[in-house]
Symmetry: D2
């Protein structure tokens, strides 16, 4: 599937500011970035860098005033990895690759250390591995109400266990915290999502089973085949689409993901000279 | 049933201190206090008072040193109120007696304001009234592990929802918080408990249904017919058996409740001239 | 001083609902209620009751639709109690009147049990009594920013210690929690406030010192002499101006407190036959 | 300075278990590991790996029974980096090296997102940079009591702000959270500490100022020149000296750090054939 994804972000800056935007899809795995366009108004220098998770961030340093970022990428997308249930077994901590081990540990929004009995009571009767995470997702879907405006940037997985309401990021945090509490490495993914309604950035999670990362989305709001990964990390603290420094006020935001037919020209509406994936 | 209940409490005081002990059973309702004995070493003046919940507190003011309180009461106990399920309906907030209304509100350990969706998801499908509280107790019993040393004096109902472990006071707080979240008044009861193993003070809760207070004990650790009420309140903050002021360190504690045969002499081992239920 | 105080409250009810409104000033102490007027549209039966704190609640039971309450009272106000600093000493817990003891204990929004070292580090060097509470109020005023929309109905004193921002209710909760942590009984007061800008219900607190309750307002937003007490309790959980049951949505609110000259007619604009302070 | 550092750790395993121990000092920066000795009883295979922070972990997989690890290293230690105050300026977020950016974000125990007003109120009046962190350390030292057994593995920086008591890890978490809240990258360091009394693993923190990481220890319990770094990370979740999987119970622990005179033989008491710093 070919998807055109992108966003328009506006900010008002009362003085010098720094914006770190993580809005570019990752290029690799099951997705290939075919072209990218940035239009920034005013035309500020863009510094690109990749963090240790492979997330691609652009840093802007406006001196003040309103800044608008229009970003657009054409992505060729394969379905996410889907092994058999038999392969997706729980890996013994003694056999985990070292780079996967940190995803066992608690993080800002995923205090797995407090949730071991809960995770076990929910799915401890199921086969270790895929079935347990699938069971967690069912439980989350059935027990947490999806509702905008009910949680905020401080809301963490224990809050969601109590209050039973939240948005995609809260669903992902809860899935991650419970997975880690079972001894299964889990990480947060932020991305674009085809047919998400209303359109927005989306969040879901992955767990490490049988040697691969498996995608899970307890919200059941988006098409698994239409998820375009932007950033991966321990939780939302690692993967925010915008980190703002200085006196900055958000002023407008739109996000989209739409299918592009295979025989259409490569990019419908180039808005600037294409980015050639340069990374500082 | 006749029960001999009591406790021995020791405290070491490094300087002048105040001890407020709420260890005397309430006299009324389904229980009648037939005799009471206090032995306090050294022999300090005892000030007795009743709080607004009818709880009977004795206040001691040692000037220092070790204080030991031996208390014993003979209680004639009827089974707790048990109406029919049909009578135990949920009372509309518009019809609640004014004095019951405060038991709808959140309190220190029972933050019902955060648990409305949880309570509804657990038992919202059941008939309003007794069935819902019974359902909550089943859920608590099945989902919270009973284990000493896993919670402390700061643990509140939201913590227990997350950590799934606690002692009788945590079970009661969770039952109360979820009941109030359903719009059903609920209160905490501290008491002596026949055949509780190991012997200790016990905690359970009551909800107001169809015009009466109904007793619930989600721990299933004690005999309903052997519960001797000491104190009633919003939660454990109102009903602590000991409030200590000054440099006071607990130094020894024993609690008991044993059956006394009807034809035995009124009290096996009087340890002091009986208290005649004087209340300041 | 004579004040005309009152409020207009609107609610939309999708079906039968119960509204418990605690908006009538207390009649006694330093304030005398000279006249009261209720206008309720539609004209619903009003049930009046007093809770155990002496707070006067009116209960309405609309069957649905929009309900508007206009309430107005003329109050003759004396300055609040103000003894000398020497009299306002800290009372030993051993000498507190029994009815004051519960105000030492933690409550929903005032978890004083977690704040003993903090309270002592802030004002432990000051003379026990008025000076300590005065010191706490200075610290709160200097360290907590007053800002609307930064806290909500779940915010409690520990949150305010961390986040350093809140509204009058948060200031009062923090003052209460810290006072109790010092061993000084403290209670929450909700009221009307003359010259509060913008006009709203106000919250402040009182501590029990030397045999009297002393008024403190760490917000420094209102005139001490213009505070008209509506409700007293452990914290905001006891004193909400509106407890709503059923599908009820607030729809409009105005609150006022204005001075009435002594020689003006007793009440400027009677809106209904006067309430004769009947209490169910 | 030459230090001999090490520890003895015992564990009882009821069945197969995995132990991940991060007890080897980092080799680099201001410290050089001259020799290392491991003795493990029983003699289990050791898997060595380095995580993304450069921390060196050994993974053991006992099949059951008691396991004891004796570890010893000889470390040549230079004083930690200490630039001038003028150099230690706050770096604009727009100029931070990409690999340092994540240390601005909140983590499990350092919820800096909730502490911006607090951090600013404490040191916002000081020069941005070293002076602010130094001011935070003074505040922490003066306001948080150092006391064993008052916090646990779930305690995070907001708890310490409220409860004002903790151990070295809590002091470090609080320092980190407040630094990040100021926009200054901060990280956790776990290590051995010369002359720490009682001997134990120690925790402190570093902030990124003017292009270098500066060491801070708000506990003032250890000698800055005697700190041997084991692990660096976002907080204690990244740097635990022991992560245990399976039915494992700690059974004995000793930690030490003692000076070795320069002319003494290279290692006083070799306990096994030396480790040649092999890393899997």
């Amino acid at each position: 599937m070919k998807l055109s994804v992108g966003c328009t972000l506006g900010y008002r800056c009362d003085g010098p500011a720094t914006l770190m935007l993580t809005i570019r899809p990752q290029d690799g795995g099951n997705q290939q970035v075919m072209s990218e366009h940035f239009r920034i108004e005013p035309d500020l220098p863009k510094e690109h860098f990749e963090d240790s998770f492979g997330n691609r961030t652009v840093r802007l340093r406006p001196s003040g005033g309103r800044v608008q970022i229009d970003y657009q990428a054409l992505v060729h997308l394969q379905p996410p990895f889907a092994g058999s249930w038999e392969e997706a077994r729980q890996v013994d901590p003694g056999e985990l690759p070292p780079e996967v081990v940190p995803y066992l540990f608690p993080s800002r929004y995923c205090q797995s250390d407090r949730m071991v009995p809960l995770a076990n009571s929910l799915v401890g009767h199921l086969e270790p591995g895929y079935a347990r995470i699938d069971g967690l997702c069912d439980w989350i879907y059935e027990n947490i109400a999806y509702s905008y405006g009910t949680s905020d940037v401080h809301t963490s997985a224990p809050d969601t266990v109590i209050e039973r309401i939240g948005v995609c990021r809260d669903f992902a945090h809860l899935g991650i915290a419970l997975s880690r509490a079972l001894g299964i490495p889990a990480r947060f993914v932020a991305g674009y999502a085809f047919k998400l309604d209303p359109p927005d950035f989306h969040a879901y999670f992955e767990t490490y089973l049988g040697g691969n990362w498996y995608l899970f989305d307890a919200t059941r709001k988006a098409h698994r085949e239409g998820l375009v990964r932007i950033a991966t990390g321990r939780d939302a603290a690692d993967t925010s689409f915008a980190n703002l420094f200085g006196e900055v006020t958000p002023d407008g935001m739109a996000v989209w993901a739409r299918e592009v037919s295979d025989d259409s020209p490569s990019e419908p509406a180039p808005v600037e000279t294409p980015l050639s994936n340069q990374v500082a």
